[in-house]
């Protein structure tokens, strides 16, 4: 068994131009925090994860309880029905999945013998047939073996309209699944769909014997007390209180903890108080602005990773009042570029975020597919002014530029009550005012901001000038979710395409082509090149500003080891490896 020492680093850097384009971000220590961090740095012996039969250490009895503070209670524990990040984080402790990510965020097999690829024969040459070989020895917590039948059932369950599954992404590409034997399934896709493995196999398989024939599974007993197959077994769920999972003695890789308590604490400050008092050991999904508080906490390590959540501002290319017309201000690319160049994102990161963030470049920052040739749009107010002059916008009597009687004034909308976003808006509002552009802050609650056509939502009706948000990618293969925002076929239209995600009305045949390639191209090198080209096309059209890379912030008590959060896997890929020291 190979062992290697690895360093858990508390804080990462931000704000460096050089780094912002790096392909695989390595954790780095913020210079100003070095002193403090080094003291708190812990060196851990970490076993490289291998799913082959690991030679077991002497004492394998699981010990101790770790309390994870969660500020959003899951709605249910069947992943496809109650699809959200917080639910998945808890579900990960109860279920293994066919493939998973390791501490380096590489796709590795968990229940499968291997990750299917064209090279290893798991994926056919035309990309339409995928063979899954399951490892023996996995059982459901009620003792039944996990078989390929369960996998097939999972597909049927997800696609059955009566299930009311939230998502069918990827699964809807399956034409048929043939169960060859208990441990082999052959999946036939309707068309080649490269993201299939990463988009569907990272999610758990559901037990056929528990869910088959259950009417309204979302409202079933199973949804609130699932029988899984993972390292921990579900024990109890107290509404508004906590979910408790306990070690699964028959797990192929036995967990080191006796139990994990997921305690629901909706108020962030109360959560920080509980971290301080030691009532909570692990907290995640914290805000960048809380890092200064966290690093001061005794006995708590803060891990902040530049994540895949890129804060972005989309410029509406259509007139909000009449979507068939171009936007009166933003249809000129010079104006869009000038506005981007007028926003001082470096000060935003170094000042408002106190250095905890990183100026963003593309949608795929920190992802292996990021186009590292691109540089962030610079902050250059003089060049911005020149561009606006050139475009015919000249300063009016109140200092705001005008053209043909129209003031250079637009609304900037994001989720109301989100403090980090509001603070950035304030800074950018000032920056833009300095170059003669008026930015009016016009925020909404997310239920209104992302509302659809039928409820006059801002997103649905395209009633915005700039809309700012981010979202967490569901899988390491971002192609599917990414493409929906940009494909011309996804342009949102309440009459013809109410479910489209391209609410800004962006349409570019060159990009459509690259996006199709990202979804269907089997040659990995060609595919990655398409994805990089797509980033370049989006960049050159100056209609979406990638503001900054948000940090994924984790706080972990010193008594808990083995968490090692990663960018994609977060804290939840490593539950089996969590253990307590010094007790």
């Amino acid at each position: 068994m190979s062992k290697r020492a690895s360093l858990i680093v508390a804080i990462l850097v931000v704000a460096s131009l050089v780094l912002s384009g790096c392909s695989a971000p390595e954790p780095q220590v913020v210079e100003k925090e070095v002193e403090k961090v080094v003291k708190e740095t812990v060196i851990v012996e970490k076993e490289v994860e291998k799913v082959v039969e690991v030679e077991k250490p002497e004492d394998t009895t699981p010990k101790g309880t770790v309390v994870v503070g969660v500020w959003q209670e899951p709605k249910g524990l069947i992943w496809n029905i109650f699809y959200d990040a917080h639910a998945n984080d808890i579900i990960d402790s109860i279920f293994y999945s066919p493939v998973t990510t390791n501490e380096k965020d590489e796709l590795v097999p968990e229940m499968l013998e291997q990750v299917p690829t064209v090279e290893n024969g798991g994926v056919s040459e035309d990309g339409k047939t995928i063979t899954l070989k399951f490892k023996p020895g996995f059982t459901w917590h009620d003792g039944q073996p996990v078989t390929a039948e369960d996998y097939k059932f999972t597909w049927q369950f997800i696609m059955d309209p009566a299930t009311a599954s939230q998502t069918t992404a990827g699964w809807n590409m399956i034409q048929d699944i043939e169960v060859v034997d208990d441990l082999t399934a052959v999946v036939t896709l309707t068309d080649s769909y490269v993201p299939f493995v990463a988009a569907t196999l990272v999610f758990p398989i559901l037990p056929k014997h528990c869910l088959e024939g259950v009417s309204d599974p979302g409202n079933s007993e199973y949804a609130r007390a699932p029988i899984g197959n993972g390292p921990f077994m579900f024990k109890e769920w107290i509404s508004g209180g906590r979910i408790v999972v306990v070690a699964n003695p028959t797990a192929p890789i036995p967990p080191k903890l006796e139990s994990i308590v997921f305690q629901f604490v909706p108020d962030m400050n109360t959560l920080l108080a509980l971290l301080r008092t030691g009532d909570v050991d692990v907290a995640y999904d914290l805000r960048e602005t809380q890092i200064p508080e966290l690093v001061k906490m005794q006995g708590v390590d803060t891990v902040a990773l530049p994540g895949l959540n890129i804060e972005r501002y989309y410029f509406n290319l259509r007139n909000p009042k009449d979507l068939s017309q171009p936007h009166p201000i933003f249809n000129d690319i010079r104006v869009r570029k000038a506005i981007m160049m007028g926003m001082d994102r470096w000060s935003a990161v170094s000042g408002i975020l106190q250095g905890y963030g990183e100026v963003a470049v593309t949608e795929l920052d920190n992802h292996p597919w990021a186009n590292t040739d691109l540089e962030p749009v610079p902050y250059d107010p003089e060049a911005a002014k020149a561009l606006l002059d050139e475009a015919g916008w000249v300063p009016g009597s109140d200092g705001i530029r005008v053209k043909d009687g129209q003031r250079l004034s637009f609304r900037h909308s994001t989720t109301a009550g989100n403090q980090v976003r509001e603070n950035l808006q304030l800074l950018f509002q000032q920056n833009l005012k300095d170059i003669g552009v008026e930015m009016v802050i016009d925020n909404y609650q997310s239920s209104t901001l992302f509302g659809g056509c039928s409820s006059d939502g801002i997103f649905g009706t395209g009633n915005f000038d700039i809309i700012g948000f981010t979202n967490s990618p569901a899988s390491i293969d971002l192609a599917q979710e990414w493409s929906d925002y940009f494909l011309s076929t996804s342009i949102k239209d309440c009459e013809t395409n109410p479910a489209g995600s391209n609410a800004w009305g962006y349409s570019n045949p060159a990009l459509d082509e690259k996006m199709q390639c990202a979804l269907n191209e089997l040659d990995p090198d060609v595919r990655v090149q398409c994805i990089k080209d797509a980033q370049k096309i989006i960049y050159d059209d100056y209609f979406v500003l990638y503001v900054y890379d948000r940090l994924d912030v984790f706080a972990i008590s010193d008594r808990v080891q083995g968490v090692n959060p990663t960018i994609f896997g977060g804290h939840s890929y490593s539950y089996a490896n969590w253990h307590i020291v010094g007790e």
Binding site: N269, E293, D344, G351, Q445
Partner: protein, 299 residues
């Protein structure tokens, strides 16, 4: 409430040179020492908030973000420190005070006018109108305010005027009840009958004769309503539904300070104190007013 009028009447009769009821009330008010102190502090706050921006606070200090001075501690340049985007907290407290007090006063005004109109209509006409209005009052009273205000502020948006309207629209019910009961008692009295006999119209009777008699309890209710509106604005801010940036209010300042409560507590302490002191003063004022007008008034 008849007791109130009788009490005032009795006192009036006993004096040789009777001062007006208002003079008497004023004298009683001044006897309530805590009320007087509270009123002075409140007046001072109002004066500072109203005049300071014109005299010595720069607009930029309160509104211009400065990424070079985030959450700095109180110093000579910034007496109360700076906030999470580098603005001067003292300056923002003063500008925020304008907004918070405006919200308090105007929300009270909305509630008072709506409540008075509905209460007067119900009390004066009685019968079906009364039934309808009072059932509606019951409806509004039986839903917790915060539950409705969540829906209201999402629905109307979060500008100063919509916050005022939402708070006002959800607080008229007690006023309506007070006004209605006053009307029920007073309309049977002789002077109203007399007015009607000489041919005064309904509107005139309501406005000129009955309403002035309801002033005492309304004055107290209105004073207390200012305080509770300021607190409601704070609660709404906590839930993230408060007044949008860049407009400061004490409520959104306090909410925004939550993130740094450990590392920069001054950001939270001062707006909290401002709300606390102001509401405290308002309550003492209301208390003194009640004691002055009618100590047995149950509000």
């Amino acid at each position: 409430m008849t007791a109130a009028i009788e009490a005032l009447g009795n006192v009036k009769g006993q004096q040789k040179n009777p001062p007006s009821i208002w003079g008497l009330a004023m004298r009683r008010f001044l006897r309530h020492r805590a009320g007087v102190i509270a009123s002075s502090i409140f007046l001072l706050i109002v004066l500072i908030v109203a005049l300071a921006p014109a005299l010595f606070i720069e607009y930029d200090a309160a509104f211009r973000p400065n990424p070079l001075q985030i959450n700095t501690a109180p110093s000579r340049a910034h007496l109360l420190g700076t906030d999470e985007v580098g603005r001067d907290i003292l300056a923002r407290l003063i500008y925020g005070g304008r907004i918070s007090l405006t919200v308090g006063v105007l929300a009270m005004a909305v509630a008072l006018s709506l409540g008075t109109v509905l209460g007067a209509l119900a009390g004066y006409f009685g019968g079906f109108v009364d039934g309808l209005i009072m059932r509606f009052t019951d409806v509004m009273l039986s839903i917790p305010e915060l539950f409705l205000i969540i829906a209201f502020s999402v629905f109307l948006g979060s500008s100063v005027s919509t916050i005022i309207i939402s708070i006002g629209l959800l607080n008229w019910m007690p006023v309506a009840r007070i006004v209605r009961s006053m009307f029920l008692q007073i309309k049977e009295q002789e002077f109203v009958t007399a007015a009607r006999c000489v041919g005064a119209r309904n509107g005139r009777i309501m406005w000129m004769h009955i309403l002035p008699n309801s002033v005492a309890p309304l004055a107290v209710a209105a004073t207390l309503a200012i305080g509770s509106a300021i607190l409601t604005e704070t609660s709404v801010s906590y839930l993230g539904l408060g007044i949008q940036p860049p407009t400061p209010s004490w409520g959104n300042m306090l909410k925004n300070a939550q993130d740094v409560i450990w590392s920069a507590p001054w950001v939270a302490v001062f707006p909290g104190l401002a709300i606390f002191v102001t509401t405290l003063c308002i309550n003492f004022m209301g208390d003194a007013l009640r004691d002055a007008l009618d100590p047995r008034m149950k509000l």
